[in-house]
């Protein structure tokens, strides 16, 4: 079969499931808020989320980005302070640090999770380090044990950028309950969405109170950042939340299917499992492409060919330091390799597809591999 990228017939033309999903419950929520624009949908959602995650304090906000900023501000982190983060993430993780005037410091990622490498974090700690911003990339929790121990040892904050990780657990406990605080995103593409929104969780009563003061407009000693969630958005979350647990379970089943079918291929592989990751939220499903087994075809070309077959696969993040305006030094060879040669992910709604939709992912990858020589020759 000729590859679609070379003019052949693609494996599929049918689109993957639409996202987001909604029904009359979202309509009812919007209607409630429309009738009473000052209605407090936020507290109701906060209560649900606190229960769902098993954390005492939840603050719904305007976005995931602002959630990270608020946590940093509430901790009194600012000008001259250093915050360690991985360079393999969305630009927002970095922007939040820069927006509060602090200095981002890059630590490398681990090759078998794409999450921040605790050993490199420890190497990057200086007397100016105030926090680690650990991203749960794709929805898989970063190493909460090792990072927690480092934060404690050096008396610095551990903040989880859990923007992609609603529903993620580590050793059976929600990512929301680890570290100093966690920031989640409910932006349009995310697994629990309201279009634009965010959530802060913490187990620290004092921090929560400071956050509350800041978000409600500040006081004599705290700046005010009025970044509470929009009422319509909170209403939407109250509807989406009812659907979320089942959707998460479905995504995880789909991921298990892909794991089982991709693992034997050898030239691509799923991310290895980790028994401590008791729930991967699977916002993104990572596929590792092994360039050394592609007989001279690059990861980029391979992915391009899979995409041409009708599969929503992308080559993943470019390292943050490739972004104009990001000028911090970096010595992160794993990120360089993953971003340049190995990483790829399936667009978030793919895992909500039917078994046949998922089988097409595997078929497309196999088809491209079977035609590597044709691909290389052009």
């Amino acid at each position: 079969m000729r590859l679609a990228v070379l003019g052949g017939k693609p494996i599929r033309k049918k689109p993957y499931p639409r996202w987001p999903i909604h029904d009359h419950t979202e309509e009812a929520a919007l209607d409630r808020v429309y009738r009473t624009p000052t209605l407090d949908e936020s507290s109701r959602f906060a209560e649900w989320y606190a229960n769902y995650c098993g954390v005492p304090y939840v603050l719904p906000t305007a976005s995931g980005t602002v959630s990270i900023e608020l946590i940093l501000r509430a901790l009194g982190i600012g000008r001259g302070d250093e915050v360690i983060l991985p360079p393999y993430t969305f630009i927002a993780s970095y922007a939040a640090i820069r927006f509060i005037g602090a200095v981002p410091v890059f630590a490398d990622i681990l090759p078998d999770s794409y999450n921040i490498d605790p050993a490199d974090v420890e190497r990057k700690i200086t007397p100016h380090t105030r926090a680690i911003l650990a991203v749960s990339v794709g929805g898989r929790p970063a190493d909460c044990d090792a990072l927690g121990a480092i934060a404690e040892k050096h008396n610095i904050a551990l903040i989880h950028d859990a923007a992609q990780a609603v529903g993620a657990t580590w050793r059976g406990v929600s990512i929301a309950a680890y570290g100093t605080a966690a920031a989640f995103s409910c932006q349009n593409s995310k697994n629990l969405t309201c279009g634009e929104g965010g959530i802060i969780t913490t187990t620290d009563a004092v921090l929560h109170e400071t956050l509350r003061v800041i978000v409600s407009g500040g006081d004599d000693t705290h700046i005010g950042v009025r970044a509470g969630i929009n009422g319509y958005c909170a209403g939407i979350l109250n509807a989406q939340s009812a659907r979320f647990p089942e959707q998460l379970r479905y995504r995880q089943e789909s991921a298990a299917y892909l794991d089982a079918h991709l693992a034997p291929l050898g030239y691509v592989s799923p991310m290895p499992g980790d028994p401590r990751v008791t729930s991967n939220a699977y916002h993104l499903y990572f596929i590792r492409i092994h360039e050394d087994k592609l007989r001279g075809v690059t990861r980029d070309r391979f992915v391009e060919a899979v995409v041409a077959e009708g599969i929503p696969l992308t080559t993943g993040y470019r390292p943050l330091y490739a972004t104009p305006g990001v000028n911090e030094p970096h010595n992160t060879p794993v990120t360089d390799y993953v971003a340049g040669h190995e990483g790829a992910w399936l667009a978030p709604p793919t895992l909500l597809g039917t078994p046949d939709d998922l089988a097409d992912v595997v078929r497309a990858i196999e088809k491209v591999y079977d035609n590597l020589d044709a691909l290389r020759e052009v």
Binding site: A96, G195, E196, G217, N230
Partner: protein, 307 residues
């Protein structure tokens, strides 16, 4: 159910959808400016403008008597707030006082339109390219400023607006509000980041009801306008002329302001003192030794009544 909300839910409620884009165009047309950006709050709009002016590490002049959001946002954007006095007659930043604080480090001058500010004098003193107008529940037009920031609508319908003429400036504001991606890169997914930007984006839902919010604003402003020629209980009391939605600002030119306040309450008005001076608050630097004569006077002589 509201048709526009239902349509938005059924078609597009994602990031920077048609509702917020069209809303920006509608507002720009109404204001007669080239660009208007909608954000999740008035503070977010001001933050985007200040970041667009690259104020980080520089000074921003603002009135000591104004909405606290101005001072909070200056700090948020990494700049130092430098307070100046107001003009007692208009309630707005005094051009003369502002001029005294302008230095080579001044990157922006903020003026809240409580009444009608003397923008010509302010633009002359501050330079048009640094002047930012700020207004709540009102959309006063301005040609004399680099940018204007507005907050309209209450509760879930609240949105912030950043209005500018200059396209290069708009690009910077836009990038500040959307992950560093400039406006001119278009809405495509494969966008390039050119600056460091956060997420100050507005939800599509309040934008879906924007025309209703604007209609309510106009209705309330008209009601407010009617009150401008009212007889107030004290002969030295005046309405500060800027029709805003839902409230009217009054100023007492006499000295027995407390008596005025009581008289207003007796007439059945809900009266509040709009602001306390910001320059004394520790969070803003606490320059308590500065004497801002008009600011001090406004603390007792200004009233806001609900209408």
């Amino acid at each position: 159910m509201n048709k526009a909300l239902k349509e938005t839910l059924n078609h597009a409620w994602g990031t920077i959808g048609p509702r917020s884009v069209d809303g920006g165009t509608l507002i720009a047309q109404r204001l007669g400016v080239s660009h208007a950006l909608l954000t999740y709050s008035v503070q977010a709009a001001l933050e985007a403008v200040l970041r667009g002016l690259d104020v980080e590490g520089f000074e921003v002049i603002l009135p000591a008597y104004c909405d606290r959001i101005l001072a909070d946002t200056v700090l948020m954007a990494g700049a130092t707030p430098v307070f100046a006095d107001i003009d007692y007659r208009t309630g707005c930043l005094s051009p003369m006082s502002a001029e005294r604080y302008i230095t080579a480090r001044t990157r922006a001058v903020l003026c809240e339109a409580l009444g009608q500010p003397d923008l010509t004098a302010l633009a002359y003193a501050a330079g048009r390219e640094r002047l930012v107008l700020y207004a709540r529940d009102a959309l006063p037009k301005t040609e004399e400023c680099a940018a204007a920031v507005y907050g309209i609508g209450c509760g879930a319908n609240h949105i912030g607006i950043a209005a500018v003429d200059d396209t290069a400036m708009f690009d910077r504001i836009y990038a500040a509000h959307n992950c560093g991606r400039p406006y001119t890169s278009g809405a495509s997914e494969s966008v390039v980041n050119t600056r460091i930007g956060g997420n100050l984006r507005v939800s599509e839902f309040p934008c879906a009801v924007l025309s209703e919010t604007l209609a309510a604003l106009d209705r309330d402003a008209a009601a407010c306008e009617k009150l401008l020629s009212n007889e107030w209980p004290c002969p030295r009391m005046r309405a500060v002329h800027l029709p805003t939605a839902g409230t009217l600002l009054l100023r007492c030119d006499g000295i027995r302001c407390e008596t005025c306040r009581e008289a207003l309450v007796k007439r059945g008005y809900a009266v509040e003192r709009p602001y306390t001076a910001l320059h004394r608050l520790p969070v803003f630097g606490g320059h308590s030794d500065e004497e801002f004569e008009n600011t001090v006077r406004a603390e007792t002589g200004y009233f806001r009544i609900r209408i």
